[in-house]
Symmetry: C2
Subunit: 291 residues, 2 copies
């Protein structure tokens, strides 16, 4: 095993998507190459980067965008990881069996091998985000994976609102949690609620970094598709909740941040939250409500 | 049972403390009266408001500041609640038995009766915050209590870094979580880390409001005591994480905010996080680590 570097350069790819798949895949491959040229060691793509966001309506035709894993798109990502010697985190619309589809993220190690896969556990369903129509909730639980550049946890979008997801991922030893995301503003809501919505989104994930003492990295889609203006704002938070890098709301970016892995132990011994958890008293977390 | 009003005015008392107990208790009583005159219906005092923060060193003499519950200070708080017809949340150094002390909060209903008590579950221990020397961890779990002005949850200070505490309190039906607090800057750290520390503190509690769709209200101590500059910054967050009111860092204040209880259902049906919790997959939250 090569020594894991003390400082790891992360790249988050924030991009627009076209209707056709191939140009998006080609763009993602170009961005991975560009990020690697800039010294990135872990590259994370946004949620379902290979197509426009498919869930603005309940449309059976959109299932055609899914692929098995391995499949053409995932294999292209694995090849890019191997070619550039970087870890690649790719969020994919997975066709697991006829009538059984998931919102899945694959972590490819720097040699192109599969470090692990994660199937989105929390599935939203709201106007313009009809994900329950498409995605079966994940059945693999919350995990992290050993890679050449550190222990990588991955959750997906709606998971970011659940402290349980971040905590469980952290308890598996994750040094980073990546959140491939596709979130944006409704045109009718942006003026009144847009700033608060974006702030809540960033606040939740910064809180996961703080509560768990690890790096949180969230690449988000950008651009207008149908009735959603994806708000970009991709960011990397350090284990104290300080943003190391943050992208704008409207442009494509490759966001780079250098993550000092040693910060985990420093932060966790200065803010020793993990030390004091009352694991004897948390059992009711598994209840829906305590009536 | 009187009808619970749709809009509830909350008051958070941010104050300095003297060495002697009685002036602090007298000041708190005056603040409760003042808040009630301003229309407050729930008044929450800061952590251990009756004395200077006792835990900057391990000093057996400080146990003398504790009282049984009921005791003189708690009875004065109950009387104030009854006199003014307001709910009072009072954080107290509880002497439960010889050698058995807790950091306890009591919720007094507007008729002066005890709605419930909570004993701080997560106990810190860091330089200048030697709480493990004084306080036995709570044995009552996470709770909320019915009052004339709504369902009141209470956690205390260090609990605020634990998403589990907020979640469990929310699942009992809390509409508000109050966090009586005593946190501040070390003089040697403030310049370099002060802004990030304060931001992390506020971010964590805003995240509890967002994740759980309820009001979070945090009164904090202010003023310099020994080697700690208590940073004030008391605030009330609405269920979207928007701050309704926020105090300054150095002055005493009675912070008022009107909380629309109907917001809970509006926010929770628009951001339906509680709907989608994966209660089948959270069992390992009760583990220390997942090796």
């Amino acid at each position: 095993m090569p020594h894991i570097p003390d400082s790891v350069r992360v790249a988050l790819v924030q991009m627009t998507c076209e209707v056709e798949k191939q140009p998006n895949v080609d763009k993602a491959l170009a961005r991975i190459a560009d990020a690697a040229r800039q010294g990135a060691q872990i590259v994370c793509l946004q949620e379902l980067f290979h197509n426009q966001y498919p869930c603005q309506s309940e449309d059976h035709a959109r299932f055609a965008e899914a692929e098995p894993i391995p499949g053409p798109t995932s294999q292209a990502m694995a090849a890019a990881a191997r070619q550039h010697g970087v870890v690649v985190i790719a969020s994919l619309f997975e066709r697991r069996a006829p009538g059984l589809y998931h919102n899945t993220a694959v972590v490819y190690d720097a040699d192109g091998s599969t470090a692990g896969i994660y199937r989105k556990m929390h599935i939203p369903d709201d106007p313009l985000y009809y994900e329950k129509f498409y995605f079966t909730p994940g059945d693999l639980g919350f995990k992290s994976f050993a890679t050449r550049f550190g222990q990588v946890g991955v959750c997906v979008c709606w998971d970011q609102w659940y402290p349980e997801a971040a905590r469980l991922t952290a308890l598996t030893g994750a040094e980073f949690i990546f959140y491939p995301t596709a979130i944006g503003w409704h045109p009718s809501e942006k003026d009144e609620y847009g700033a608060a919505q974006h702030s809540a989104w960033e606040t939740m994930m910064r809180s996961h970094a703080i509560a768990n003492g690890l790096f949180v990295c969230a690449p988000n889609r950008v651009g207008v598709e149908g009735n959603i203006e994806f708000w970009g704002g991709s960011f990397v938070s350090d284990p104290s909740g300080v943003l190391l890098a943050k992208a704008g709301h409207s442009e494509e970016e490759i966001l780079l941040a250098d993550c000092e892995r040693g910060k985990l132990d420093v932060v966790r011994t200065h803010w020793p939250f993990l030390r004091d958890r009352r694991v004897d008293a948390y059992g009711d977390i598994s209840k829906r409500f305590i009536d």
